[in-house]
């Protein structure tokens, strides 16, 4: 049933965010540490384990697939609720700091990708 897929997804997200919250408490930061990432790993692992025993029925999978397909529209809504006005009225220093940080981070991607790939070739 479709709801099984939705429930599985909900379980993974709540567990992940819960663990991320605990992790934040343990290392003493006021933030969720990796909650969504942990939830994603949990979903992947659970799905892999279940497929070995008894694969999820295609109908159950639609419960997850629907939300995956809603990703882009949700991101569009997310964009529409950003405080863009606040970002642009923060003054030049804030804009320069943000732009410079993004430019440097973009430039760093090929460097790290190369480094990682090189390390793998050596081993």
């Amino acid at each position: 049933m479709t709801i099984y897929g939705v429930a599985l997804l909900s379980f993974c997200m709540l567990m992940g965010v819960f663990v991320g919250d605990l992790l934040g408490e343990v290392i003493g930061v006021q933030a969720n540490v990796g909650g969504v990432g942990i939830a994603m790993l949990l979903l992947l692992v659970l799905h892999n384990l279940m497929s070995r025993e008894r694969p999820l029925s295609p109908i159950t999978e639609t419960g997850v697939g629907f939300w995956s397909a809603m990703y882009i529209p949700i991101v569009v809504a997310m964009a529409a609720r950003q405080n863009v006005f606040g970002a642009l009225s923060g003054g030049w220093m804030a804009i320069v700091a943000g732009v410079a940080a993004v430019a440097a981070s973009f430039a760093m991607i090929p460097v790290l990708a190369h480094f990682g790939q090189g390390g793998r070739d050596d081993s």
Binding site: C12, G16, V17, G20, G24, I27, V29, A31, V33, G34, V36, G37, A39, M40, L41, L43, L44, G65, F66, W67, S68, M70, Y71, I72, P73, I74, V75, V76, A77, M78, A79, A80, R81, Q82, N83, V84, F85, G86, A87, L88, G90, M93, A94, I95, V96, A97, G98, A100, A101, A104, A107, M108, I109, P110, L112, A113, F115, G116, Q117, R120
Partner: protein, 254 residues
Amino acid sequence: MILDSLQRVLSANALITAFMFVGALVWLSYLISAKLTRGHVHGSAIAITLGLVLAWYGGLTTGGNTGLADIPLLAGVGIMGGAMFRDFAIVATAFGADLSTLKRAGLVGAMSIVVGVVLSFGIGAVVAVAFGYTDPIAVTTIGAGAATYIVGPVTGTALGAGSDIIALSVAAGLTKSVLVMVGTPFVAPRIGLNSPYAALIYGGLMGTTSGVAGGLAATDPKLVPYGAMTATFYTGVGCLLAPSILFLLVRMML
């Protein structure tokens, strides 16, 4: 009377109104993509950009801080685009992800998070100094804001920075997030952002969950789970490093 009634229905069913509104926005964007750019600019990139422009308009007209969602009729956009649904949809995208890619790139992914935090922080701090800030707490808070708009206020509050400095750090983080959303599809070919492996590194370096979510959606939705995976650890690492080691380093240098 008809208008009053319509307005009542739309407001009472805010989330459903948002579904319809976003659907229309996405449809318009794909139309623009096909007709005006002949498919060169991806429809979702246009939709996200239009979303940001509308968010700017919302902030301009209402003075609120949640963009278009501050317009009462479109309050549902705030629910649909809020952290709850965003994270739910991001987790759902993991369903098709490849576990072995994640394992293989685990180390470089983790490294990219630390490099990303230190790099953005350092640049933000240098810009703050260039603009004449000399107080270590202010410089650290602005540097932390250049990491993400959550790391900024968390660091500023921990160090006791003034609210004007904290506001600046949030603005720097917001600028970063918006720019990552809009800029990613354009720079993706140049920086080799075309594989799950590169997406993991991208997520770790950029760190802003909204920025990465939007940037990858507009570039290649298949890469979303990989980028989101590392990005989700970034804010935590930032909140850990900025008020501690990085603050001490700034204080030593100034």
